[in-house]
């Protein structure tokens, strides 16, 4: 691999001292700070970063800053890369017109706990309160396309493609390829966690990021889709082979009996916990997701939804999640709901239970029925082992 000398101090004034400042003040980010290449780019009027861990600095601008200020800008940019703001901007479909709104949101995500930890940025750093939010949220939550807030943009605020995901800029060689930048990110995450154990003075947001990077949370939507798909295809036998009916090819195969395809269509029922402890928003979200999945699976029949607390209200047949009215309150017994689902005719083959988990469970599923449990909320206790459980957290992505 060709790698250029990583801007070791020449051309960008005060670079060595500012990196040293950064590595001393934020020891858990030192690997990231030294891993980035700094390139002098005269007359650019800014310090920007691209997604290949290259920083482009205007020497004239940088000369006005103290080592602590330049060091802080480096740390700030490294955080853009660590938190993959470029990739996330593309995922949030940030267009060229929205970049400054996105950059403010991304800056707020970084600055909220690093500024208290000693980041000394030139100018006025963007903080969540400038955007009208509390600390500790994500750029996606701060981001409001088209919003014109009063927060003044600092002169160096154009953080570049590494922060806003816009293409362009220089195509010069020497950056890190994707797979290496991922390794670098993981190394920094290891450093952060090791430092937190040793010294214990890592900002909480940074620590959350490191934990999320090393053991990413499984996307519940994907998990729910897999479980539902599997439940539906296994009970239906979908288009699998069976000897119940001889194959049409049998006419040419002589003495051999070949299997044929069979495909019963399974019924799906949903049991919703409507007790007082449930959150309406989360239930509606989960129910909408189930409904979308069932539709995507090609089960055109209407979904049957049972609202359940201690007693089960009559099964509602709905065609949309919006039609579900949550009637209950008080205690919960999902066993009653599952039993009621088992008594429906035609009998459902798959039953999806959406609950917060604070419920007694029966000893086993009704015969011939598969149960998929969606546990809503972070603190839900475990479902019994004969179900397939999926956790649906409140926070979508807790980076």
């Amino acid at each position: 691999m060709t790698s250029r000398p990583h801007g070791r101090g020449d051309a960008v004034p005060g670079l060595a001292a500012s990196r040293l400042w950064a590595a001393t003040r934020f020891p858990y980010l030192a690997t990231g700070v030294f891993g980035a290449t700094v390139i002098a780019e005269p007359d650019s009027g800014t310090v920007s970063v691209d997604e290949s861990w290259r920083m482009h600095a205007d020497p004239e601008l940088v000369a006005e800053w103290t080592p602590a200020q330049l060091g802080s800008v480096l740390v700030h940019h490294v955080c853009h890369l660590l938190r993959t703001h470029g990739e996330r901007a593309r995922a949030a479909s940030v267009g060229p017109d929205d970049t400054s709104a996105w950059l403010r949101a991304a800056d707020a995500e970084i600055n909220d706990d690093l500024v208290p930890a000693g980041l000394d940025l030139p100018g006025q750093p963007i903080l969540p309160r400038h955007l009208g939010f509390g600390d500790g949220l994500l750029a996606e939550q701060y981001y409001a396309p088209g919003a014109r807030t009063g927060a003044r943009m600092a002169r160096w605020l154009n953080c570049g493609g590494g922060a806003d995901g816009q293409p362009g800029g220089c195509e010069c060689p020497g950056g890190l390829p994707d797979w290496q930048s991922e390794l670098l990110r993981r190394q920094v995450a290891h450093d952060v966690i090791a430092h937190a154990k040793q010294a214990g003075n890592v900002p909480a947001g940074m620590l959350r990021w490191a934990e999320q990077t090393l053991s990413p949370r499984v996307d519940w939507r994907r998990q729910l889709a897999t479980e539902l798909r599997r439940a539906v295809s296994e009970v239906s036998g979908a288009v699998d082979y069976s000897y119940r009916r001889p194959s049409r090819r049998s006419s040419v195969s002589g003495d051999v009996i070949l299997p044929a395809l069979r495909r019963p269509v399974p019924e799906i029922a949903v049991v919703c916990d409507t007790s007082g402890s449930m959150s309406d928003d989360l239930l509606a979200m989960a129910l909408a997701e189930v409904e979308g999945l069932v539709r995507a699976l090609g089960r055109a029949r209407q979904l049957r939804v049972l609202a359940c607390d201690t007693a089960v209200a009559a099964a509602q047949r709905v065609s949309s999640a919006r039609q579900v009215s949550l009637t209950g309150g008080g205690g919960t017994d999902m066993g009653a709901g599952i039993r009621a689902a088992g008594e429906l005719r035609p009998r459902p083959a798959v039953c999806v239970v959406l609950t917060d988990g604070h419920t007694p469970w029966p000893a086993g599923p009704p015969k011939g029925m598969r149960i998929v449990v969606g546990l809503l909320g972070e603190k839900a206790p475990e479902a019994p082992s004969w179900t397939r459980e999926i956790r649906v957290p409140y926070a979508e992505r807790n980076v």
């Binding site: 790698s3 001292a17 390794l183 998990q223 082979y241 090819r249 051999v256």
Partner: protein, 364 residues
Amino acid sequence: MDANPAVEALGVAVAARVPVLLWGAPGTGKTSAIRAMAEAMGLPCETVIASIREPSDFAGLPIVVGDGVRFAPPAWARRLADAGHGLLFLDELSTAPPAVQAALLRVVLERAVGDLMLPDQVAVVAAANPPEQAADGWDLSAPLANRMCHLNWQADPRAVADGLAGGWAAPEIPLLPDGWQAEEILSRGLVAAFLHVRPALAVAPPSDAAAAGRGWPSPRTWEMTARLMAAASAAGTSGEARSALVRGAVGDGAGVEFLAWLVEMDLPDPEAVLADPASFQLPERGDRAYAALAAVASAVAANSTQERWAAGWQILGAAADAAPDVAAVAARVLARCRPPEVTAMPEEIKRFAPVLRDAGLLGS
């Protein structure tokens, strides 16, 4: 270098005769790339669409012969066997019903179709749409997934534009030099050393069904990894493609750990350079230089003697020209662990004074 690392990785996997599976959205040119590749290499290519086949098409059609049953291979298998080499392309793998996937197990790994054994020179390549994109898709069963190297296929907009205008470029199959298998001993050694450090990763079947349909670590996939790494280094493959191959074989989690471990292996051993400070070479990249120097400093700190301390300073002094900031971080660690019998600070420490002063770290 190819814009799409999957193309390069596909070439290496085919050359190494490791079964490979391309995952990608419908219409992104997986099928056309594989056909073009076979054509460019002059290999006969048999396309078999798994989703419209029956299990007996892969396990052999049972025919009553006298008092026994023979499993007759279908014509495509005969053609490949007669040619002696070629490409077996299994399309639409993820929409194949479980019974067909089960029948494919032997075809993919052992190249056995019914009673017929396909020659070793037949490469198995498959393509599939992710279950969420395929109509009526199934998650790949874990045993079948474990027999293949999974590559993510993404259409590169520039390649699409070029392909529309001037025909699709075929992925190049790297020609492996004779005796490339000799390298496999080396790469097996590397994998074995890694599994000594991380025994938990030797076998780790994933818990959720979606992950089970992709690569996951098992003795078989680690063996595949060793083979792919040997082929990749014989073919001079780019790091990007090599990473795709490793992660495709054992899955993202274990793959990344293994790659990170390989990078670490590249760093100089701190004890060795302390014994012979003149041999120290500063790694080119800043983060590696930092890792190497920090390792030297903490090795001295763990067991600080007059000799080791002096050797440490000699190494930092030599690095001070090229990377004063990186070396200064390590110097601060080293300065704190002065062995009691040493009274004077070493000469080299003066070289760090200017940068320490600039950073405001002196005199406070």
